[in-house]
């Protein structure tokens, strides 16, 4: 890989709004269909999960909280065996992920030992560090995949195949498999697979292709512990990212692939969107850890990125994305207070912001969109480009259609503490 000049990444004080790592349960329990996610936590964790994940809409969520109450605080090592038995009877999982949360972390519960004592060969219990003290939002998927790593069979050195890294829905997974086959690239599987019992083999011949930008640590471990090669490219978002991803991936198999026309055709199909995006000022406040590739796509679509902030930036894993954002102000763990002042100063056309801050920004007349949504939409690869572009332009179009809300009377009475 050629040396890249790395842009300066500022780091602030983490006073931004987002969710803790436990939220990854929301998509992972659905992705890994024979799993159960058990959070060792408090009422707070349960209240978070039900509010953020809208638990009620699902009949039998395969996640729950081992609820620590006052009496449990005096026991340094909680006994979870009866809960494991209950989960086993009710849900018949093949694997239980035991997630840490803030309270047991503060109590210094020894999770590795706890998980290994509960684990049986038939039903492994795997420790997943996910607490809000250290993990933001999608970041905890990295922990889940690291926990799965020992269960991926060892692939022999001559088995040179791709393992796609990161949870995507089955439709996207099929698309990536088909695309690889078309390019003549052999596919070994996906981490995570849809079932714990179907994890891909990984070895020195494996080429790990990261689909999600929040998996730096597991990628690093796959290289270190299994000798796998980790693709260093752009993430497959947008025509630009998808082209680079496949060309670089093919190159690792000694194939030179030119997807220039394909990229051009994809941009062509996005013309309706790029017309709207061109010249628009966009601000990312930090939330889902997908900010770097999303901002890079928008920049290539002609937008001006006023600021791209993210909860966590890894200079190696994100090297190509950072290089593509040369010149853009990039902030890790930003201060939201400062961001608000900058939003007022630079007046972006669109702010990609968290669930908690979007409505208040809209109330100030700023066009804002939930960053959370990007984590749940099929925006990967060639088939995802229109969805991806549409998510940005939808807000712009919508707000240009609606009459300006220039009289405060229209928000009067909505908020008791204001007005």
């Amino acid at each position: 890989m050629p040396a890249q000049s790395t842009p300066i990444v500022l780091r602030e004080d983490s006073a931004y709004h987002s969710f803790c790592g436990l939220t990854c349960v929301g998509w992972l329990y659905q992705k890994i269909k024979d799993s159960f996610f058990l959070v060792l936590g408090t009422h707070t964790c349960a209240h978070l999960l039900q509010n953020v994940l809208g638990v009620m809409v699902f009949a039998r969520p395969r996640f729950g909280v081992a609820l620590m109450e006052e009496a449990d605080l005096s026991r340094p090592q909680p006994d979870l065996s009866h809960l494991i038995a209950e989960i086993k009877t009710d849900h018949h999982p093949s694997v239980i992920f035991l997630l840490s949360s803030c309270t047991p972390e503060v109590m210094k519960v020894e999770f590795e030992g706890l998980a290994s004592r509960l684990s049986t060969p038939e039903l492994p219990v795997l420790f997943v560090p996910a607490s809000g003290l250290d993990y933001t939002f999608s970041q905890a998927e990295d922990s889940v995949l690291q926990a799965l790593l020992p269960f991926c069979p060892q692939a022999p050195a001559e088995d040179k195949r791709i393992v796609f890294l990161g949870s995507v829905n089955d439709m996207i997974a099929d698309e990536f498999t088909a695309e690889a086959e078309q390019l003549g690239l052999p596919v070994g599987g996906f981490l995570p697979a849809s079932h714990f019992t179907a994890l891909p083999a990984i070895g020195p011949g494996t080429v790990v292709a990261p689909l999600q930008p929040y998996l730096a640590k597991v990628a690093n471990r796959l290289a270190r512990e299994r000798g796998a090669t980790v693709l260093a490219s752009l993430f497959p978002f947008g025509p630009d990212g998808t082209r680079a991803f496949w060309e670089d991936l093919a190159a690792l198999f000694g194939k030179q692939v030119d997807l220039q026309d394909r990229e051009a055709a994809a941009w062509e199909r996005l013309a309706e969107h790029t017309t709207l995006l061109r010249g628009k000022k966009v601000f990312f406040t930090a939330d889902n850890l997908m900010e770097l590739p999303l901002a890079r796509f928008l920049r290539n679509a002609g937008s001006e990125i006023v600021e791209c902030s993210s909860p966590y930036i890894n200079r190696r894993f994100h090297a190509r994305e950072l290089a593509a954002l040369e010149g853009v102000p990039i902030v890790e763990q930003p201060n939201f207070d400062r961001q608000l002042r900058d939003i007022a100063k630079y007046k972006p056309d669109l702010v990609i912001s968290t669930m908690g801050t979007t409505n208040p920004l809209l109330g100030q007349g700023v066009v804002a969109k939930w960053s959370t949504e990007f984590a749940f939409m099929p925006i990967h690869g060639w088939t995802g480009v229109a969805t991806l572009a549409g998510m940005f332009t939808q807000s712009l179009k919508r707000h240009s259609h609606l009459a300006a809300l220039d009289d405060p009377v229209w928000t009067a009475g909505f908020m008791p503490s204001v007005g």
Partner: protein
């Protein structure tokens, strides 16, 4: 330690946030890991707050713990600079409270001008409601000042708060009734109140504290400290509203008599209607109309907080003439009050639990004609094909609609009656279905998938689940086996009541020691328990 999937009440810090987001110039600061900030979107999403809620998380990270760093002073300075509050309420989280830090001293080290209150909301000893109630009582005690009464008759409305159940509509209903009486509102709190408003609380002639969950402590304090008479009942239903109005007029005139104030008279009841010339509520006549006869046989189970459970049970029995199948609450600390209030209304023990599975089991055993509950009961009832309407918090985005849907006052009675009527299976229509089968509803039989699920209406869902719930012939239900003939016979029972018929038959069979349910057993059960 138990396995929890869902909770009725939020956390203590959520309760603190509800008070802060209700009040002007009060800001909550959570000394907590970043994840505890999840309470913020509950306000911005459910109430669609057009501005930032008055709460800030002073982030504590793993690295901070390792290095002994504490950001609280810096956060307090930032909050002061950005929001200019009159008061900052600091509280710890479930994790940081274990660190046993001296937050008082840490907060003092910020050296800001704004008053800081460190609120000791122990999340292991209190949840949302106690924390909110405790904080609001404390603020009232701190800020209420002795003063003269207002010249004209006035009341305080104590208890409405951010994320309260239908709270905006209830406030409108209360204000409308007071306007009709010619009574001024002195202060509404905590909803929209500033600290200076709390100071003015003792100027009111009478306090109105309709919610058992919030405002009770503050009203009791004002009553004890300043002698302000208080109405603690919630005007839910027509007769309770009339009594409430009469009580209010009496109290105001008693205060007026002592202070040479004006004498209030009760206006004509039509004055309380929306157009000023009709019945203030349609319920009394509605309840006497012919198709409501069938409601006397309809059994209701209610579950929720204290105020709404009590109010709704009384309304359904006393004013709609329904039969009460049972009631429950998730507020253990209010259970005694609920029992006392519902003495004579319940035939069995009040269900007191904060585990929704227990409530669902109770509903499943009983299969009432209507359940009045929280959003969780609504969800449980969908699976059981039991009609359910939501009458109590915790609120859900669907309880924050734009229209005027009060639960209090005459208009509240109309809203509840309308919802009961449209939710339950109807009279004549139901007789026909009972007699002749399924009205074609059960053949829809859609394919269930989680994505379709969200779009399905309750009726469709009901039709579908009723079909799914048929016991397979030869498959054991507990220790029981349904013979194919009995199974076919059960299928002829209208789907609205099929679940109950199945349950009753199985119960009957088990009691009689049958192991196979044959058509004879089914017939015998039908005769015995009436289907």
């Amino acid at each position: 330690m138990r396995l929890a999937y869902w909770m009725y009440e939020g956390t203590a810090h959520h309760g603190v946030g509800r008070i802060a987001n209700s009040m002007r110039g009060v800001h909550a600061v959570f000394h907590a890991p970043q994840g505890d900030d999840y309470v913020n979107p509950i306000f911005t999403m459910l109430e669609r707050t057009p501005s930032f809620p008055h709460m800030t998380t002073s982030v504590v990270s793993g690295r901070d713990l390792a290095q002994g760093t504490i950001h609280l002073p810096e956060t307090l300075r930032q909050v002061e600079a950005r929001f200019h509050p009159d008061l900052i309420v600091v509280c710890a989280s479930c994790s940081t409270i274990l660190l046993q830090e001296d937050l008082q001293r840490t907060a003092a080290s910020a050296e800001i001008q704004t008053e800081v209150l460190v609120y000791n909301a122990n999340p292991y000893r209190m949840q949302e409601i106690s924390a909110a109630e405790g904080l609001f009582t404390l603020l009232t005690q701190r800020y209420a000042r002795p003063q003269a009464l207002t010249a004209q008759p006035s009341v305080n409305l104590i208890g409405p708060a951010s994320l309260g159940f239908h709270v905006r509509s209830d406030l409108i209903a209360l204000r409308r009734m007071l306007a009709t009486l010619g009574v001024a509102v002195n202060v509404v709190a905590p909803w929209g109140a500033a600290l200076s408003d709390l100071e003015r609380l003792p100027a009111a002639w009478v306090n109105i504290a309709p919610y058992r969950e919030l405002g009770l402590g503050a009203a009791q304090f004002l009553e004890q400290q300043f002698g302000t008479p208080t109405i603690y009942t919630a005007p839910i239903g027509v007769v309770p509203t009339q009594r409430w109005l009469e009580h209010l007029v009496t109290l105001l005139n008693e205060v007026g008599a002592r202070n040479r104030g004006p004498v209030l008279t009760m206006p004509k009841l039509t004055a309380f209607s929306l157009d000023g010339m009709s019945a203030p509520s349609g319920v009394p006549w509605f309840a006497r109309t012919a198709d409501m006869d069938s409601f006397s046989r309809k059994r209701v189970f209610a579950f929720g907080d204290a105020t709404h459970t009590v109010g709704v049970i009384k309304f359904l029995r006393d004013e709609l003439g329904m039969e009460i199948a049972g009631a429950g609450t998730y507020l253990a600390h209010q259970a005694d009050w609920v029992r006392e209030q519902l003495a004579g209304y319940l035939h069995d023990e009040l269900l007191v639990t904060d585990q929704f599975q227990e409530v669902a089991r109770r509903i499943e055993q009983d299969i009432p004609d209507l359940v009045c509950g929280t959003q969780m009961e609504r969800h449980s009832c969908r699976k059981l094909d039991v009609p359910c309407l939501v009458v109590a918090p915790p609120t859900h985005i669907e309880n924050h609609l734009l229209g005027y849907y009060p639960f209090l006052g005459f208009e509240g009675a109309d809203v509840i009656a309308d919802r009961v009527y449209t939710t339950t299976k109807l009279g004549l229509e139901k007789h026909l279905i009972d007699l002749f089968g399924d009205a074609g509803l059960e053949y829809k039989n859609q394919v269930a998938s989680s994505s379709d699920d969200a779009q399905m209406t309750d009726a469709e869902y009901g039709a579908e689940t009723a079909t799914q719930h048929l016991p397979d012939s030869g498959v054991t239900a507990g220790e029981l086996v349904w013979s194919p003939e009995a199974q076919a016979m059960l299928k002829k029972v209208p789907f609205f009541v099929r679940r109950r018929a199945q349950h009753n038959t199985e119960k009957f069979a088990l009691e009689r020691g049958h192991t196979i349910i044959t058509p004879d057993v089914l017939r015998a059960a039908k005769e015995q328990v009436g289907g």
